[in-house]
Subunit: 118 residues, 2 copies
């Protein structure tokens, strides 16, 4: 249903390895993997916990809802974008990948997905 | 002890509001605030929980240690950089601030701080 849009976004990002649209309950909606380097479902599930913590912290700090997060290790960069209260996008990139473009594309992609997910 | 270096880093970042060097136990080491827009100690404490979750998730995913994280809301962008197992840096920026430069400067700053914190 959403795979074409996920594929198009991923293929526009240098170093993009995989992207997933997932529920905050850890249930995947759709995904697209350009490589099998990581299991994007597991990545999404593990980092969904972190994103939920970020949203709780931002609420406590009263700085508006946390709608974007990036996590970087020496092997991987991951961009997470909240789509709605129930769903988020996660894109995993090689560490030298274009994180800025990933952020931009996920931000642009989110509103359309939100409309269709309701 | 570290305030001058924190001040220098913050003042080099467009939109930088405050920066803190803090223990993962939530105890502040040193901080510098260009404005009182947010309480950087509270920001550091709340987001330290998120950073710890990110480190746990990265360990489970076996993708190397999570050493950098950014969290964005409509009012604030925060860059977190791990200095050592015990300490991290957090810089809070206006949402239109230069997050890329903040990341770069914290990455450059961290090794020197690590040496002195042992």
């Amino acid at each position: 249903m959403f795979e074409n849009r996920l594929k198009e976004a991923l293929e526009s990002v240098k170093g993009g390895e995989a992207v997933i649209l997932m529920g905050f309950d850890g249930i995947p909606v759709d995904s697209y993997e350009a490589s099998q380097r990581w299991d994007i479902e597991t990545v999404g599930m593990e980092f969904s916990v972190v994103l939920k913590e970020a949203r709780k912290a931002a609420e406590l700090l009263n700085v508006g809802p946390a709608d974007e997060m990036t996590i970087r290790t020496d092997q991987m960069a991951t961009v997470l974008r909240v789509v709605s209260d129930g769903y988020f996008l996660a894109m995993a990139l090689a560490p030298e990948g274009n994180v800025g473009k990933a952020k931009y594309l996920l931000r642009v992609l989110a509103p359309g997905l939100k409309e269709e997910l309701i």
